[in-house]
């Protein structure tokens, strides 16, 4: 077995209540690494076609990366995947924290849950002792994420790490998150509802084992080099001081801050919800996850008034989703709303995207108090944003309609409200107004899990990465590739970034440090995999693995009917010109970018599916 891993996958059949421990499959690792790649392979083979994502036939996987738990900067990540109840296609979500590293220290790299329990359970892991326990008897079923963490620590010791769903997951909210370490979220794709449907409340873990490393002689010396590079990077001081919260001002300045349900990319109240506003009055301290030198997590507190709380702080996505997107400049409500979303276990991006859809429908007179049970949905009504967060998690009143996500809610309400759904493949678009950054529009259209900025995370055209573009792609692509308003070469960039980012999600590293800032690249990952795991992989090997994973994700979705027609954006973004700010007059030229992207991928231009040659090149010809 390779070094640097726990060495086993736990296979948990929730219907039978059985647990089996199997050694890792090294052939899968050589073709897909671990993390996102491993789950892509395993779940492709296990999830049947034509099933209800909330039925016992769905399979839920959790996996760490090959470097998770190592001393590489930001080696804190784990991945969760299943058929998504929000999009009905490939669902995948990632989080940092300490849970993933702890799982490896217990001797496990992944857990695969099949079937469904008839009564609520949780999985408790203490090294070799792995038990499915009664969640009702433990008093955690029906409880929120923080209560669950408190109760399990009381029961199993304060050094355990917990991963759980809150009430939103139990109530099968289609954008329920899976939380770990209290306020870290695998939020996208609604995988919390899959846990809820399996009546699996939590996975608590304590690992006292150690990871071996392949090259103990050179390990610390090389890790020291990586650490010094990360600390010397010009991004690091700002990350520690602001996390991602200072992005609000940058995005406002380039007209990319989704506002009023993406009617526009600038928001008059941006300063009130900015990173400076948070730091000035509410910041408690920065926080770091396992082996994290960027420390972009934070704790904040509101000390008085209706929004009093202390806990995890919002990042840019939540400032945008619950703030500008809803026309809401009341910062305390954004901070508290984010806290509630963590407590109940909700994806704040889809939460804000769904509430802002309803607000626009209200503004257009297509939703009334008769529909909402008297809830006032005026733009900027911060009390409504907070109130609906609870109503959605509990599926109370109009919250039950919104708990289905904006696409299904629009279908139910009708009256043309689907025009205001800012989603791709039924998942709400994140905090990037794509008319102000074309690469983000393409990335949202092509991502395997529906609208998603992270699958490709094509940030190289955002602000000042010309040198990196020159090195990664070649000078012939400048200046267009670095121009966020130009659609040219964005197909090439998004393809390259997707392959790289899924590889990074398969080794368990953060995108901060590997993509922005672009401090570490393929060559560094190859060195880390050699000294930590003893794997001899070249840059080219890792590129092909990334490409293989993306193609396998595409085949998973193709089995469910996804083709080029589904790689689309809301008409607002492709046909209506941006009304304000630097992108005024712009639309997303999606078709031209898609042509370039499919060509670069070796996918058929008409269907958007991998050609036979491409599949053969990647060793996937038998998966069709």
């Amino acid at each position: 077995m390779i070094d640097g891993v726990g060495g086993h996958t736990l296979w948990v059949n929730l219907t039978k209540g059985s647990i089996e421990k199997k050694p890792l499959d090294e052939e899968v690792i050589s073709n897909y690494l671990m993390g996102a790649g491993y789950l892509s392979r395993v779940l492709f083979d296990l999830i049947p076609q034509g099933i209800d994502p909330l039925s016992e036939k769905n399979v839920l996987g959790m996996a760490t990366g090959l470097l998770t738990g190592s001393m590489f900067p930001q080696a804190s990540r784990h991945v969760i995947a299943a058929l998504s109840p929000l999009t009905d296609i490939w669902g995948e979500s990632h989080a940092a924290g300490f849970w993933g590293a702890e799982l490896k220290f217990a001797g496990y790299d992944a857990i695969v849950f099949t079937g469904a329990s008839t009564s609520p359970v949780y999985l408790n892991i203490k090294d070799d002792d792995v038990d499915l326990l009664d969640a009702e008897e433990a008093g955690i079923w029906g409880k929120d994420v923080f209560e669950t963490d408190d109760i399990l620590k009381e029961k199993h010791g304060k050094r355990i790490r917990t991963l759980s769903i809150g009430q939103a997951g139990e109530n099968l909210v289609r954008f329920a998150a899976i939380m770990n370490d209290r306020d870290r979220a695998s939020a996208r794709s609604g995988l919390g509802a899959v846990m809820g449907s399996k009546r699996l409340k939590a996975v608590s873990v304590r690992g006292t084992g150690k990871l071996t490393v392949a090259d103990p002689k050179n390990y610390l010396k090389q890790i020291d080099v990586f650490h010094k590079r990360m600390m010397a990077n010009p991004f690091t001081p700002g990350r520690i001081k602001y996390g991602t919260t200072s992005l609000v001002e940058l995005m406002q300045h380039i007209g990319r801050l989704p506002s009023y349900n993406m009617r526009q990319g600038v928001f008059d109240g941006f300063e009130k919800i900015s990173g400076d506003a948070i730091n000035e009055k509410y910041l408690v301290k920065a926080r770091a996850d396992f082996s994290c030198l960027q420390r972009c997590g934070r704790y904040t507190a509101v000390r008085s008034g209706p929004y009093t709380y202390e806990g995890g702080a919002p990042e840019f996505e939540t400032q945008s989703a619950m703030g500008s997107r809803c026309g809401n400049d009341n910062l305390e409500s954004v901070l508290f709303g984010h806290h509630l979303a963590n407590q109940y276990g909700l994806d704040t991006i889809s939460l804000g995207g769904t509430i802002s859809w309803a607000m626009e429908a209200w503004d257009e007179g297509l939703l009334t108090a008769d529909d909402t049970g008297g809830v006032d949905l005026s733009w900027g009504n911060h009390e409504t944003v907070v109130r609906l967060t609870r109503m959605i998690a509990m599926r109370e009143g109009f919250g039950d309609v919104l708990a289905e996500g904006s696409a299904r809610a629009a279908q139910k309400i009708g009256r043309g409200t689907d025009k205001f759904v800012m989603a791709v493949k039924k998942q709400e678009i994140a905090g990037q107004e794509p008319r102000a950054q074309k690469s983000m529009g393409l990335a949202a259209a092509t991502a395997a899990r529906g609208a998603d900025h992270l699958y490709a995370f094509p940030v190289l055209d955002e602000a000042g990465f010309d040198e990196e573009i020159r090195e990664r792609f070649g000078k012939q692509y400048l200046p267009e590739m670095a121009d966020r308003l130009s659609p040219k070469y964005k197909g090439i960039m998004v393809k390259e970034c997707e392959d790289y980012m899924v590889m990074i999600e398969s080794v368990g590293l953060c995108k901060y440090g590997t993509q922005i800032p672009p401090e570490f690249f393929y060559e560094d990952i190859a060195v880390a995999l050699k000294i930590h795991n003893g794997l001899e992989l070249t840059k080219r090997d890792l590129q092909v693995i990334g490409e293989r994973i993306v193609n396998l994700n595409r085949l998973f979705n193709a089995r469910l009917g996804v083709t080029r027609k589904d790689d689309c954006l809301p008409e607002r973004l492709t046909k209506e010109k941006a009304p304000l700010g630097p992108p005024a007059g712009e639309v997303v030229e999606l078709d031209a970018m898609l042509d370039e992207y499919y060509t670069e991928r070796g996918w058929d231009l008409k269907t958007g599916l991998p050609t036979k040659d491409t599949l053969e090149r990647l060793g996937l010809e038998e998966d069709v």
């Binding site: 700002g238 940058l250 840019f316 000042g464 700010g581």
Partner: protein, 93 residues
């Protein structure tokens, strides 16, 4: 000389102590020199690369929301009422 509004963000703002400043400059290069004169060594050490005299790596200067690399770089000519922004390394999603 054009009268422009310069906006400072995050760690650049910490050095200047103000959110914005109106000043006169013909080009971006002149504007940066003027800011060094106004805010002294602390600004220079934080923002300017001593070898090139340009902005340090990953710092970003935009004129009316457009990066100067896509205009005429440091020779970009400024006009009255232009809005110039100076960002420290920041980005992501």
């Amino acid at each position: 000389m054009a009268q422009v509004l310069v906006k400072f963000f995050a760690t650049v703002r910490e050095v200047t102590g103000v959110k914005s400043l109106e000043l006169e400059a013909e080009t971006v290069k002149e504007l940066l020199q003027s800011l060094v004169m106004t805010y002294g060594d602390k600004f220079k050490d934080t923002v300017i690369d001593e070898n090139t005299g340009n902005l340090k790596q990953f710092f970003s200067c935009m004129v009316n929301g457009k990066r100067i690399e896509l205009l005429d770089g440091y020779d970009t000519v400024l006009k009255d009422k232009d809005s110039v922004a100076l960002f420290p390394p920041v980005g992501g999603g």
